[in-house]
Symmetry: C2
Subunit: 329 residues, 2 copies
């Protein structure tokens, strides 16, 4: 009734478990098992519907063939797609992926990473939270392979896959400028995470070079009060005397909320105001809003490639992959 083990096969075939293991792992040639016996064992294994016990294997080998994926929010389409591609690609290497959420909470991230450590994942792909560096450092200290994804900590050497945020942001802002915008607001998270700062810097660079930079047009929102923050800031900007003519939303979540608020206020995009966003969002299926497209599939693929490489051979010097984005107008 219970699972079929290698012992059952050995019993039925009248050989030792070692022989069965050798054959079933294709090591019968160097273990020199006769072809006839090999065939017989393979057949009984199949007929008994033998499935190797992953834990026994993992316990023995110390490798779980599992990658831990730690993301900020699996219900965010950007991360969901990323997770999808990571899983698909990991599959090709024979790796399973355990996905886990942090909700942008460092505390939760630490807890989840600890759990995955107990489960002996072979490596981590992590979209770190703000202040998550300590947690990542610990993984480094334990010599556990990690790849950071989407975000990174500049002061800490680490494998990383992301996009050229500064350039993407510069390009996006310049696009609004070419449309004739002169007073462009920026919506971004209030965070020390470098990727967010890069996006801000790109925006600043584009405006500053034309003497259009105005710090009052930068709106920082908190993750925990995101909707209220955005609604308030949009309200302020639109009804204030600032007369803005463009907005750059730097993430898909911010875009969704911001666009909804604009609509509620009867501000029409792009007639009344031009908008550009980082990441696509379903919320502008209708308005053909231009956006910065990240190569999600490629990001996932590279992250998996790097982590698998790491697992096979640790202690390689940190790889820093910065992929190009595309401006979709």
């Amino acid at each position: 009734m219970g699972r079929v083990s290698i012992k059952d096969i050995a019993g039925k075939t009248g050989v030792s478990t070692a022989t069965v293991s050798l054959v079933l792992n294709g090591k019968d040639k160097c273990g020199r098992i006769s072809e006839a016996l090999s065939e017989k064992i393979r057949e009984t294994a199949k007929s008994m519907n033998y499935k190797p016990n992953g834990f026994a294997k993992a316990l023995r080998s110390g490798r779980s063939e599992t990658i831990g994926l730690v993301v900020a929010d699996i219900s965010n389409p950007f991360f969901a797609h990323l997770a999808f591609h990571i899983q698909e690609h990991a599959d090709g290497y024979g790796y399973s992926v355990i996905i886990t959420n942090t909700n942008e909470s460092t505390e939760k991230m630490e807890k989840r990473v600890a759990i995955l450590k107990c489960r002996q994942v072979d490596g981590f792909i992590v979209v770190p939270t703000e202040n998550g560096n300590r947690c990542i450092e610990e993984l480094h200290e334990n010599n556990i392979p990690v790849v950071l994804l989407d975000r990174y900590f500049p002061e800490m050497p680490s494998h990383y896959v992301g996009v050229s945020n500064f350039h993407a942001s510069l390009e996006a802002t310049e696009y609004l400028l070419t449309l004739g915008c002169r007073k462009i607001a920026l919506f971004t998270y209030k965070t020390t995470l470098r990727h967010a700062q890069e996006r801000r810097d790109g925006y600043v660079a584009a405006l500053a070079s034309r003497n259009l930079y105005d710090s009052r047009l930068i709106k920082e929102v908190n993750h925990s009060t995101i909707t209220e923050d955005i609604n308030r800031s949009v309200q302020e900007l639109i009804s204030g005397q600032n007369e803005i003519d463009g907005i750059f939303f730097t993430t898909n979540t911010i875009s969704s909320i911001g666009l909804k608020k604009l609509r509620e206020m009867q501000v029409h995009v792009p007639n009344d105001i031009k908008v550009i966003c980082f990441d696509k969002s379903e919320s502008f299926a209708f308005s053909n809003i231009p956006f910065v497209q990240q190569p999600i599939a490629e990001m996932g693929r590279q992250a998996v490639d790097i982590i698998v490489e790491q697992i096979r051979d640790r202690n390689q010097s940190p790889v820093h992959v910065e992929l190009k984005t595309e401006l979709i107008v």
Copy 2:
């Protein structure tokens, strides 16, 4: 350098591994270990930063404290949210969740389930594909706990959590009728999956009772050619002589594509045509389109509760949970 094992603690404390295990599992009382020794062991364990090896535990106990979640597409927000809630709730029970995709392919579903079986997940939560019944039956035969989610196979008794599709659909269609619609089209998948049929049946029932049923207004789309199918059918319906005044899109994916096509054709919702959808979608953040809201968090919670219950005590008679939806207008 390597992991700290129970043996290391035993060595350092000068006791046997049995004692350490007993203490660390809180069985020191019935194993009758002296309080002083217990304390000493707990301290060294902490100071050595001991983390139990999950595989050894799982191998010994036969339980992995892991639930396999098999969904059709993690990048679909409906499933992503479901996955999110399942994970959150499973966490409370100390279970990890391995999420895996099937892309609506039965073949892939079988492969993924097989992989998870090897990893000895304690139970499965599955959003099955069409023709996935054979795969589920096999799990039943192996006496592995399963809960079907969102979809089920009526001929096969099984634990299941879903919504009252027929009633939701009836209600949605009737809502369009109260808005004055008389020629309402239905967009649904061409599938034998019962939940889809229930949605169709609800629509049919609402119209048939008013003698408004017209089979030509039912548009079935294939999963693999969904965009073309929807675009073609929308085109046909709008430009044809059928003069439809309402559309019911029965899933969020179908809604997104259909609404986009309508917009491209310059058909305005709800002025030119009324629309109602199953599930919310970002794509109608702007148009306030009415929709059938499923209790996603509750679905996830119930699925976890049932599977955990099952793992603890198999062979309970199948629980069939049908949750209520809410019409959001």
